[in-house]
Symmetry: C2
Subunit: 385 residues, 2 copies
């Protein structure tokens, strides 16, 4: 009655029929969980009472549809809800909004899986390099690349560059900024990137290495792309970004810009989505599926057995989401991290295989006073496995 002019035929002509499907884990008994699924269909789309919607394609296609609903375990159900792909408007921002917008503020709902439709996969083609591209750049066909972080915050650009040189000399393949280094007065971005990239370049020549330096370019909106371009000019071999700080769409825009630099994603500020298995976004979807879809070539995640509380199952979900077969979409490197030490390596390799980046940060300093010797231990351990 409010929408007497509604033109159902016009809307039908504008819908492709492709659907975006999200798997939700819903807490409660069967009735409660099913009510949640019904509510999601509306809350994530029209936000309007069913009984007042005009008949036709809004109710039938724009509103979410429950495609499957099943019991998973006691007090937990899985609902597959599909949406018209057009609801997401071909935008990563609005895509996230359809997947988990307002319902992020409701209890007992977790995004446990997602499958974009055909058109969205064309619009979000994912990573430009992936595992294959990164291995080619590093000239490492098989073994896991060695990865570390330059820190601590508070050192000067010269001090950080000196460490970077030692990392490259010792045999680290990818040397990234700690994710808290941005443009602090004591190690400004430009000077830091220049000095660190030069240090790596020199060590590569002197010690016959192929190491790359990857600066952190999580930065203010207005400056982010300038930093990326400047990093490239100064010799960076990739960039690191934290989508929790910049927004996921910034990662997507960075990949779409095809700067020629591989992208490593960092999980900072995103933890609240994964702290509770009954709500939020599953670790696999957040640190795996979404990072890959948005265009990361590698995704750092907080591995079990270190400083962070993810479980082995959470971590395996992430690894699988990074490396699942997806037509046309490159697989990406999962990168278990967060307080890893050399002693964790055999376990990582056994569980995840060799297509991972192995990030040892302060663990390299804890091994003894000679950093180069410590890195040699790291290298030999990987070579041996």
């Amino acid at each position: 009655m409010f929408f007497s002019d509604f033109d159902n035929d016009l809307l039908l002509r504008q819908l492709s029929g492709n659907r975006l499907t999200v798997l939700y884990r819903l807490t409660g008994d069967e009735n409660t969980a099913y009510s949640k699924a019904k509510d999601i269909c509306t809350e994530q789309t029209v936000e309007f009472p069913d009984s007042l919607l005009p008949e036709g394609a809004i109710a039938d296609q724009i509103v979410g549809k429950i495609e499957d609903f099943r019991n998973e375990k006691e007090n937990s159900f899985l609902a597959a809800v599909s949406y018209a792909e057009e609801d997401a408007a071909g935008e990563f921002t609005q895509f996230l909004n359809v997947v988990f917008g307002n319902i992020s503020i409701k209890r007992g709902i977790q995004v446990a899986g997602l499958v974009p439709g055909k058109n969205l996969l064309k619009i979000f083609p994912g990573p430009k390099f992936g595992i294959g591209g990164l291995r080619k750049i590093l000239e490492i066909p098989q073994r896991p690349p060695l990865f570390t972080a330059v820190k601590p915050m508070g050192l000067s650009a010269a001090g950080l560059a000196k460490l970077t040189a030692q990392f490259a000399e010792g045999g680290i393949d990818i040397i990234k900024d700690d994710h808290g280094l941005s443009n602090q007065v004591f190690a400004p971005f430009e000077e830091r990137v220049k000095r660190c990239a030069e240090a790596v370049g020199e060590a590569n020549v002197r010690f016959n290495r192929k190491a790359v330096y990857v600066p952190n370019i999580s930065a203010p909106f207005e400056e982010l792309f300038d930093r990326v371009h400047r990093a490239k000019e100064l010799g960076a071999g990739g960039v690191m970004i934290s989508p929790g700080l910049t927004g996921f769409d910034t990662l997507r825009a960075l990949a779409a810009a095809e700067t020629g630099l591989p992208i490593i994603a960092h999980p900072t500020f995103l933890g609240s989505y994964v702290m509770d298995h009954s709500q939020g976004i599953s670790s696999g979807v957040l640190f795996g599926t979404l990072m890959r879809l948005a265009g990361a070539d590698a995704t750092i995640f907080p591995n079990y057995g270190g400083r962070f509380p993810l479980t082995p199952d959470d971590c395996l979900e992430i690894v699988n989401a990074c490396r699942s077969e997806q037509e046309d979409m490159p697989k990406i490197f999962p990168c278990p991290a967060g307080g890893m030490e050399l002693k964790n390596i055999p376990d990582m390799l056994r569980h995840y295989g060799k297509d991972i980046l192995i990030l040892i940060g302060s663990g390299l300093f804890r091994l003894g006073n000679d950093l180069i010797a410590n890195i040699r231990q790291f290298r030999e351990l990987i070579a041996k496995e």
Copy 2:
């Protein structure tokens, strides 16, 4: 020993001595909670073992300091941790990273309050309009402005504009897009904004109103500012953005750009931070303090008593954070929402006073078949209070 070249005097000269202070709520017994506070000091800054840091200003000033630690209630402690302002590099992205970056991935830590230092407050000056500026634009000196959303998704631009005209005719002051309307094929941004802004303009003349139309400009990174400028050209009276989708820094950049349009912030996709009072970010800090600091002039939040699970205390925290006295920083409109109906209005006014926006969405449609008559009820209720 790793940092023999560390120049402590240089670093000291680069630090202003100003501190950024964060209040953390920590779960556990006293020892556990205190250990968490100590861990935060390191995790959020140097991510490096204390015992291996060079002596001097890194350990003393860059690393966080516990300024206060006290028992709050059983199994819950409050720790005030201060950081050198320079850790945040004058960037909203890195500021969020210092406040709650990696520790977002640890259990039992909630950001319960924050006080940026002097320099950060100059860099993040907050809203351009605030309550006073918005009231001036709307020519409403005292009563709460009436606020609604145009929906449902699936209507054409013409259909949405027709509703918008009725809202303005009825007497709604601020008419915003539903937060899920972006650039869908059935109501493209440009056409929707043009038609809706025109509809409001015509109704304003015909019915002697001062209503404004506020489009949603949450959009891809590359297009967002174009949409803002286009919205202005087409006659929008403000813009709405969802920092959960675009990143908080995009809100900050939008306010800094001084487009002349007030900004309304929407809470979508941010719920996981507030679902559990023992971790994440408190509702007051997330929907109040951070939105205001980043430059929102009004912040929509999920009010208690509607479809969302926030408590009255959570909501009061948000309202207080929006309107607390802060030297030089305008107060902003809190906007209780999320399934509000006319019957909730007396309660909102009693608890929050008149400096709020009152957002009734589909509640306006539920009152009866005559939308204009329904809005009249809304208006009369506000006039009476």
